[in-house]
């Protein structure tokens, strides 16, 4: 199925446009999991990887059916070497088995022949020594940095839509995103608008039946005015919106880039959901219940 159509179905079924960021960090792991992993593995990367995986499985179990997607942040796993990457692999597998849409947040980018390897790994399969097709990590979507232009993008998309898609960084949520992205071009628009026009061009003719493309855009919740402008430039593009909650974006800010009918956006929260057990609001709840309750509060806030 066209990946944007799959999203439409997931949103309809879960009544949610929320995406839960699976960004585990030691400080977000509940004490009982920490103690358990330390006792078995000592203070090692193996302990971190085991605790992250147990934590992610609990979170995924708690939120399944109540959000549109999960978004593992690759950096959190890569920080712990091969053990961390194995944890990411198992996390994706666990989410896949539960049918949740998986956005791999890797912001990958390279020249064409190299981008091809990233595409094989994250969204497809790579050739074995004997010519067999070896499945990769199993993501449904991958975030991608478009600084290299079309031939760094094409390997991820192919000539026609398949079952996977990408989100290209257009306007990121961080404070210094404007240093390059807001610079004024000769025609009076900003660099991010140039990127938006590229995303719009790359997405031509790639709509699913829901009307959205398989080439989405990352547009931070922290810049609502820019999001409205970017929506004009990319009418058929699915926006992945980070920066809601912990980073400061309100529900209205996060929804600023929606299409006139309210569709076309996915709003991510990471710490706000997976770290809910640390918040006063959810004190006393088991960490899985806290995550679920925080997600329900987010869904309500976004209604």
């Amino acid at each position: 199925m066209h990946p944007a159509d799959r999203f439409s179905s997931a949103i309809a079924a879960s009544h949610s446009i929320a995406c839960v960021g699976l960004d585990p960090r030691p400080a977000l792991i509940p004490p009982e999991l920490v103690a358990d992993s330390l006792s078995r593995h000592g203070d090692t990367v193996e302990a971190v990887a085991e605790a992250f995986l147990t934590f992610n499985r609990g979170i995924i179990h708690a939120i399944t059916g109540h959000c549109a997607a999960v978004k593992p942040q690759v950096a959190c796993y890569e920080a712990y070497g091969p053990a961390g990457m194995h944890c990411l692999f198992e996390t994706i597998r666990f989410a896949r088995e539960r049918g949740i849409e998986i956005i791999v947040d890797g912001k990958r980018n390279d020249i064409g022949s190299t981008a091809e390897h990233y595409a094989q790994g994250w969204l497809g399969s790579a050739p074995g020594l004997g010519g067999k097709s070896l499945p990769g990590w199993g993501g449904d979507w991958l975030t991608v940095n478009g600084y290299l232009g079309a031939d760094g993008i094409a390997p991820f998309t192919g000539k026609a839509p398949t079952t996977t898609g990408i989100f290209v960084l257009v306007k990121t949520s961080n404070p210094s995103s404007g240093e390059l992205q807001d610079q004024a071009l000769a025609d009076g628009s900003a660099v991010m608008e140039a990127m938006a026009r590229l995303v719009q061009r790359w997405g031509q003719g790639r709509q699913g039946t829901c009307g959205l493309n398989d080439i989405g855009a990352v547009v931070g919740a922290t810049w609502p005015a820019q999001a409205r402008r970017l929506r004009e430039l990319m009418p058929d593009t699915l926006f992945l919106v980070p920066g809601y909650g912990a980073q400061g974006g309100s529900a209205a800010d996060a929804k600023a880039g929606a299409r006139p009918d309210g569709s076309g956006i996915l709003i991510n929260s990471s710490r706000g959901i997976i770290g809910a057990w640390k918040e006063k609001t959810y004190a006393g709840l088991p960490w899985t219940d806290a995550a679920r309750a925080a997600l329900e509060a987010m869904n309500k806030d976004l209604e």
Copy 2:
């Protein structure tokens, strides 16, 4: 030692400004290694990972002392899942033990709090569950995409130089690099020049005794005129130059961005070295000898 000074020493000791790209692909693996791995593991990711590692070790052994650095391309390993990443880890370890400078080509990028995890993983260490510092992959340098601005860069560099450094993408070697990077800004310069000015600003006061910063720039060999202009904007910046050889850049093109005294550049070749055994020029040589001979030819060509 300041990482740029380490490079100066490596260049002086090896009489080479070459960097060898460790970008293994099944088609570049000699038949005897393919047969051996297939017989032990079947047509699996484990077979690929084992063959890549044996291949990389042979290449590293053959080129040690005759180049300034090695540059593993993360995508080639990521394509094969956790097994591929384990192979990358062991490749870096093998190179470290031989004292070769290691540039991890990952083009990583994210908002500050996330970039921190990439920095911990590739260039430093990450906190364990018990607070211990857990060493990561062990790279000396990491390539980074600067589209997110300063707060996506700062986590990699810290406030003052350490023993590691980064290379920020400024002008990439691929055909469509100009789609964004060449767009004209309001002041008449191009987007890549805006990126160059950011790199120059970020590098202020970060020189080693050799006069070069720990924040370098990626400037493709395929764009010599642009490289000369970018050198004007970044006088104290080490240029990592991909695109020589297989991608079409000549020695003169690749050296276009050097400083007036010829310093300040590192020129990468991947397929041209590691795939030399497939070339008619080196027919009959063992693949390790072919790599070494191709590297010597490259060094001569760059003189």
